[in-house]
Symmetry: C2
Subunit: 163 residues, 2 copies
């Protein structure tokens, strides 16, 4: 069933990203060995503007306004394609629906406010190195990691507690 929900408008603190034009989008799609369809281009356009970390559902709703002909199966399918090709990064916070972002050049991890949903991207080379050291210690070949920090942002802290 298709459910339309008002998504909350949360702030993000992002690392720098370079803007991408439509031609680049088409190039990306071809690089994946897929056909260039208007829905795929629209999905990439939608992902490159607005909230960087978006759920499949939110993305579908956003697209739905200007392109009601795009089905959410297509959104899910293409997100999966792009994730497999590392053009999109899937971010999972606890048991919540996955959020997706166009993979930026610079690797980063996330700091999340559990109160208001604010997402801060950060990069810490020392942590990355220590992770490698841990893997090495246990004779693992490290292929990936998930580092998510949870807490309260300063706004939420100052605004008192609860609810």
């Amino acid at each position: 069933m298709t459910r339309l929900v008002k998504g909350q408008q949360n702030k993000e603190v992002l690392i720098e990203r370079e803007p991408i034009d439509i031609e680049s989008f088409k190039k990306m799609i071809r690089q994946m060995g897929l056909k260039v369809t208007k829905q795929r281009v629209h999905i990439l356009e939608a992902m490159s503007s607005g909230r960087a970390h978006i759920t499949a559902q939110e993305l579908f709703e956003k697209l739905n306004k200007n392109h009601p002909e795009i089905g959410f199966a297509t959104v899910y399918r293409f997100l999966k394609n792009m994730t497999e090709h590392s053009l999109v990064t899937e971010v999972r916070m606890g048991g919540f629906p996955a959020r997706y972002e166009l993979t930026p050049n610079q690797h980063h991890d996330h700091l999340n406010c559990t109160q208001c949903g604010k997402i801060v991207e950060f990069e810490n080379e020392s942590i990355e190195e220590l992770q490698l050291a841990v893997a090495k210690k246990f004779n693992f070949k490290l292929t990936g990691h998930v580092l998510e920090l949870y807490g309260q942002c300063d706004q939420c802290n100052s605004k008192g507690s609860d609810t």
Copy 2:
């Protein structure tokens, strides 16, 4: 619906845990402000032997052998209770079903083999400190974190690649 699946029997490298007796289990349940029922004690018994990181489904199947009267709603419910009281820790690996473990005294994170499912528990004080530093830098009050490392264990590496 109740589905019975053969769970794979994967190895784990665990930090030390002290054994817990039935009386302690009952104490734990009372501490949560809950009634001591045989199903709850059985669930705790099942969790304290065998694979430390177990899914709700696996736990249900394990219990089902000797205690077919326990419903899986009870398993889920009690796992949730215990998670809320921090007696159990929920571990989420990617989009897979959550795994649960009796919370040990020592905090730790996980190193997972994506090939065979081996789980290694580790603890790295430096990483913990750096996480605090990151949170501080962005004026967050850190309340929790998820750190999961993914890779191939040495056995899987030596056994060649693929499938």
